[in-house]
Symmetry: C2
Subunit: 158 residues, 2 copies
Amino acid sequence: MATPTKNILLDEQLCFALYTASKRFNHFYADALAPFKLTYPQYITLLALWENSPMTVRELGSHVNLDSGTLTPLLKRMQTQGWVERNRDENDERQVNISLSQKAIDAKLDIFAHVNSCMELLNMDAETYANTRDTVNFASDRIKNADPKKIDYTGTEL
Amino acid sequence: MATPTKNILLDEQLCFALYTASKRFNHFYADALAPFKLTYPQYITLLALWENSPMTVRELGSHVNLDSGTLTPLLKRMQTQGWVERNRDENDERQVNISLSQKAIDAKLDIFAHVNSCMELLNMDAETYANTRDTVNFASDRIKNADPKKIDYTGTEL
DNA sequence: GCCTAATTAATTGCGTACAATATACTAGAA
DNA sequence: TTCTAGTATATTGTACGCAATTAATTAGGC
């Protein structure tokens, strides 16, 4: 007798919970960042740069987990809007150094204050917030280290 | 004396944890679904249809949280690849009914079996998996109900 | 110095996401 | 019936996200 295949229900999937929550946060930040005309990926790019500027495109990408295919056009838009500057490295012309503009340096505290105000709407105490984040990061590590390419497909040909 | 603004560090943000985990799952499923030439959004569309077919575009969208701007082209690609059929409703021609193709009905158990095999790579027992999902969904509800448009920006003009 | 392998960004192509708009159709009021 | 408000999908425009490729530059071996 064949082993019955375990059913998969959409609303029970962790992937779908993460996918939905991530999109909702994207929408949340779209509204929260509207006064600054920033998108969510642009905001996390600024967060990374506020911690460490300048960085090469590669370094920046390793912090925000995005590659040059995403970052290059994103950074060009941010440059157009005056948030960052892009300069070829003088010593190694393969590299492009991304640095904060004065506007970005000046706006930091205003953005932090406004985002912090918006975050209070979540009604999550610091402990719940931290526990949730740690739980997500725990799962995230597991996902990162799993490689489905190792499992070869043995079912019917398409 | 002014209140000091609370600092915001990228790696401490729940939004970034969710954003990263969601992207990693997307990558995980890209590999897991490669034998079937399905993307992750296409897969959750199939999950919804396997539970209930046919559905109108609108009904489907309410299950997977996507609007027609995303679904219309996605469903056209899935139709081209033989996963779904699209038919105008005879009674109400505004609606388009999306139904599973025979190929999708036949492939269901093969896809479930392969995805389940891949999921074992996560090394998460059922309880941890369920707790993580519930924790994410709890936060997701909070994010959904928060509306940053209610907070007006009082900082410096841009 | 000269050739080759490695490194870094940029580009290309495809597939989402979603706001805003347009189009087609339906149903209800006058 | 005709006008109108509402509904359902499609289209348009902008911005990711990432695999794959290309182009430019650097560094290492000889």
